[in-house]
Each structure stands twice: as structure tokens, then as C-alpha cells.
Amino acid sequence: MKRGFVGILMGNRKFIIGFIIFIVILMGGIIAHQTIPFRYSRTGAFPPGLPPGVKNILGTDSLGRGIDVQLAEAVVNSVQIGLIAALIGTLVGAVIGFTSGYYGGIIDAILRVLMDVFLSIPSLLFLILIASLMRGVTVRGMALIIALFAWAPPARQIRAQVLSLKERAFVDMAKLSGMSEMEIITSELVPHMFQWMSANFVNATLAAILAESGLSILGLGPQNEMTLGMMIYWALSYAAVFRGMWWWWGSTVFTLTSIFISLYLLHLGFDEVINPRIRSKI
């Protein structure tokens, strides 16, 4: 099973399609970000409200800034926020989930209540609260704030799985074979959770990018850097939808949706490989 995991993933159509879309967008963003001159993103670099054309591939906004250069920066920043928040969230969630599930007792009781609370409250509200207090966040700062609330879902899932895994007979067998608790966790339990954690990482990336765009649309995003959420914020602030500047909001919405769909496909691919029972069903 271990042998073929990556192989099976690569054979999964959803995973491959999602992977390709994601990489294309990200690489496109990085390359464009590196090559397009920075001055194109300054106010008045072009005539304002220019539709896509020869002069500027994706057109310009109301202030004469190039959409292409903004989009490139936004993709890089938004994905960065997603990845950092997801990584921290998944790792912290894993530590909390394993502690809670494997050791049980009073620690588990406290952690369980915390998880329940964090899961039933929309994290966006707390994010609004924190972000509104910290005026002028940066991209990294935003990633950290989002990570604060990204640990609970993986923690709960991992806890539940550890609870059932540790009752499995192979854990008894490992104890009988003289393995220590730490060895049991790392060599018997973690392999079972590793695949799940990678799937969760993808999911958490998606959620973090979603949270970023939501916060930014409410005006809580980084004011001096561009993210996909901030692009929508500016587009909405300048009423791009009502002024027919479809290229402005359209290109952003398209990019954001493509990222979501690619990550979701990746997640589905992981899911099908991890739970073959579901594979044939949906």
C-alpha cells in the first residue's frame, strides 16, 4: 500500500487535472511577477479603464494600473497565505489531535471542548475581530492570523482517527513486540495519518485562500500588497461591475475560481485514493 501511494495518486485523473491547473496558475503568477516591470503596477502607468488589448493583455483598472501585473502579484501572495496557514494549521492540528486522541484523560477533555467551540463558531468572525484591530496587516501577518483558526478541523479528525486506530489489534501487537509509545505513534500510527494529513493540507490551503479573500473583501486585507481578495475589494470599491469593466473583476474571479477548483480536484483525488470505498461511488 505504501509502495504505490504516489503512483496511485498520479494515476488519479482528478488529482492530475487539479495538480496541473494549480501548477500552471502558480508558475504563471511567479513568472509574470518576475518579468513584468514593477512600474506597470503604479497608478497612472497606463490610461485608466483600458480594456484588454495589445497595449495591455488584461487591461487596466480605474487608476491606470495593469491588471496582469496585479494578478501575478496577487496569485503569488494569496497562494503564499494559503500554504503558510495550511502548513501551520495542519501541523498544530496534528500535534493537538494526536495528544488528545492517544493520551486521553483530562487533557483530552479540555482539548475536545476547545475543538468543539472552534468548530461551531465561524472563524471568520474572530478573524474580523483580530484583523480589524491590527490595522495594516502584511501578507505574512495575514497568514498567521488565519492559521490561528485552521488547527481545529484537522485536530478533531485526527483525534477521531487516532482513537479508533489505537484500538486496532496491530497496536496491541506492537506493544507485545516491545515497541515504545513513541515508536508506535511514529511508525504504526503516523503512516495511517500521513495520507489524510496531506489531503487535509490541500483542503486547508483552499480554506485559507477563501478566508483571505473574504477578509480582504471586507477591507481587512493587506493595504500595501496585492492579493486576490484585495483585487476584488478594489474592483468592488470602484464599482467595476456596474461600470462594465468585466476584465477587472472577471480575470480575478476566474483566477480565484480556478485555484479553488484545482485545489478541490486535488482534494477529491486524495480522498478517492485514501478511501477506495468512496472511489467508485461518486
Binding site: 461551531s120 465561524p122 474572530f126 484591530l133 490595522r135 476584488i232 461591475v241 456596474f242
Partner: protein
């Protein structure tokens, strides 16, 4: 019965703990975030002292938060005022209190959300059940599944932007924004209700379409999984009609996770709806929050966040109470 009461008691305890933790976080956050935002707020108050506000406001604010007291005293004081429903004064809309502002905007949000959620939950659950029962090969599934997957992936507000573009900019069918036409007399009359409905169709549609994808998919996969259950097989062996097996055997069992799913995704829906209100300038809590953010009206942000959390937790608690009524087993589960 005794077991049910114990269950209710357990859920109630979680409910109280959740609210308590939420209050505590809302209280603590401003005091630990770097840059001393409370100081910033008071200085902003002082700035406004000459014009719109008054020393009276600054005084009120100090009193409510007891800023010169130790943190613990402040906390107890905060709890005490909260229990009286006192959330302080809005800075941007002084002399209105936060509670007044919230009371004005909360009905809009709750109305929009409850109607939209119920509609999408019902439609998604029923279509999902039928599609799941028909299996992978059925024609409706082949069309609906990819569609639902697509919808489920898109955030509410992205769909909202697209809907506005189509229905407002291109076709001009619906009003641009707001909860009702400005200047319309706010009273319970038919024209006003119709006006409100007309304004709420697009925001509601965004929520319905997006969460429909989720309800559809989760119900569908539940039904598909249940088809392998022994009791479904026995029902078939009993010669029951397909319709009876679907609705009395598969559907009733699949409904249980669907209801608990409702509890979990409420948080998600509420979060999305707040941003949605900003886009539609819909006069609910989301719009209030957005305006408070731009105007640095910190007491209103704090109050709004708290009230939405409490409303949401209460909704979850009610769902918890309903759950045992449809699942006879839950009363006996421990913890």
C-alpha cells in the same frame, strides 16, 4: 426520558461553555493584540470629542470597559454589563448604542439566512436522495454531480458578483443593492414586503445555489453508502417497493448526518453571508460590520461578532435538541 434529559443537559453545558469562551476571547483579543487598539479607540474618541462626540462618550466608554481597573475587574465588569444587554455606544453612530444597531440589522440577516438555508437544505437533500438512489449511472446524476461539485467549490461572494453582473448590469432585472428601496416607508405592508423580497432574491440565490451543491453531494453520498447496508438489502428481500425503501429506510437514516451537517455548516454559511451582505449592501449584520470596520467603530465590531456567535451557537443547540427526535439511538450514547 432520564437519558434524554441528561443528553439535553450535556448539550446545554457545551452551549454555555461555547458562549463563555467566545465572550472571553472577544474580551481578551483587543487587550493582547499589539498596538493597544483600545488606546487607539479612546484617542479616536478624544479626537472626535470636539465635533460629533462628546466627553460624555469618552466617559461612557471608560466606564463600560473600566480601563483604569485591573484586567480581572474589567472582565467581571464586562460580563455584568453584557448580562444587562449593554454592549456600549457605537462610535460612528453616537448616540446610538451597539445593541440598538444590532437589533436593527439582525432581523435582516436572520431572515435572509434562515429562509435561504432552509430552502437549499430541503431541495439539496431531496434531489440528493433521488440522485443517490438512482446510482452512478442515472442520467440526472451525470448532469447534477459535476454541477454540484462546481458550485460547492465557488465561494458565495464570487457567485454573487457574477449574479450581479448578469441580473443587474446585463439584464437589469433586479435592484442594484440594499434591503429595500431607499425612502420606502418601513412598515408591514404588502408593497414593502414585495420590495424586500425583490431585494433579497439575489443574495438569497447566492446562498441557495452554493449550499445546494453541498447538501446535494452529502445527501447523495450518504444514500449511496447506505445502499450497501444489510437493512436495505432485507427491505428489498421483503419485496417492498423501491419508493418505500428509499423514503422509509434509506432516506430516514441518511437524514441524521444531514441534520448534524446542518449544524456544522451553519458557521460556514454565516461567515459567507456576512461578506455577501457587503457586496449587496444588504442591511444586515455583515453590512453593519463592514461599515464599522471602515469607520474603526470598534465597540460595534466587538458587539456584532459576539451577537452573531451567540445566535449561531443557539441555533446549533436547537438542532442538537431536535436530533434525538429523529434518531432514537442518540439518547443512549454517552458523552
Amino acid at each position: 426520558m432520564w437519558l434524554y434529559l441528561r443528553y439535553v443537559f450535556g448539550r446545554f453545558a457545551i452551549f454555555i461553555i461555547t458562549i463563555f469562551i467566545a465572550i472571553t476571547i472577544v474580551f481578551i483579543v483587543p487587550r493582547f493584540v499589539p498596538g493597544d487598539p483600545l488606546f487607539a479607540v479612546t484617542s479616536k474618541l478624544a479626537e472626535m470629542g470636539g465635533s460629533r462626540g462628546s466627553p460624555e462618550l469618552v466617559e461612557e466608554y471608560r466606564k463600560l470597559f473600566g480601563l483604569d481597573q485591573p484586567v480581572l475587574t474589567q472582565y467581571l465588569y464586562y460580563l455584568k454589563e453584557l448580562s444587562k444587554g449593554n454592549l456600549g455606544y457605537s462610535i460612528a453612530n453616537f448616540p446610538a448604542t451597539v445593541t440598538e444597531l444590532l437589533m436593527r440589522s439582525l432581523p435582516w440577516t436572520i431572515g435572509l439566512l434562515s429562509v435561504a438555508t432552509v430552502i437549499s437544505w430541503l431541495i439539496g437533500t431531496f434531489i440528493g436522495a433521488i440522485s443517490g438512489w438512482g446510482g452512478k449511472e442515472s442520467k440526472i446524476s451525470k448532469v447534477l454531480v459535476p454541477l454540484a461539485l462546481g458550485l460547492y467549490t465557488i465561494p458565495y461572494y464570487i457567485l454573487a458578483i457574477i449574479l450581479i453582473f448578469l441580473f443587474v448590469y446585463v439584464w437589469g432585472i433586479f435592484p442594484i443593492s440594499g434591503g429595500y428601496t431607499p425612502g420606502f416607508p418601513i412598515k408591514f405592508s404588502l408593497p414593502f414586503v414585495l420590495d424586500v423580497i425583490k431585494h433579497s432574491i439575489l443574495p438569497a440565490l447566492s446562498i441557495i445555489l452554493i449550499s445546494l451543491g453541498w447538501w446535494f453531494l452529502s445527501m447523495r453520498s450518504m444514500i449511496v453508502l447506505l445502499q450497501g447496508e444489510d437493512y436495505i438489502l432485507l427491505a428489498q428481500a421483503k419485496g417492498l417497493s423501491d419508493r418505500r425503501i428509499l423514503w422509509r429506510y434509506a432516506f430516514r437514516n441518511a437524514l441524521l448526518p444531514q441534520v448534524s451537517g446542518l449544524a456544522i455548516s451553519l458557521a460556514h454559511i454565516v461567515g459567507g453571508a456576512i461578506i455577501l451582505e457587503k457586496i449587496f449592501a444588504y442591511p444586515g449584520v455583515g453590512w453593519l460590520l463592514y461599515n464599522s470596520i471602515t469607520e474603526l467603530d470598534f465597540p460595534t465590531i466587538q458587539g456584532g461578532v459576539l451577537v452573531v456567535i451567540i445566535a449561531l451557537t443557539a441555533a446549533n443547540f436547537i438542532l442538537d435538541l431536535i436530533y434525538p427526535l429523529i434518531d432514537p439511538r442518540i439518547k443512549y450514547k454517552r458523552g
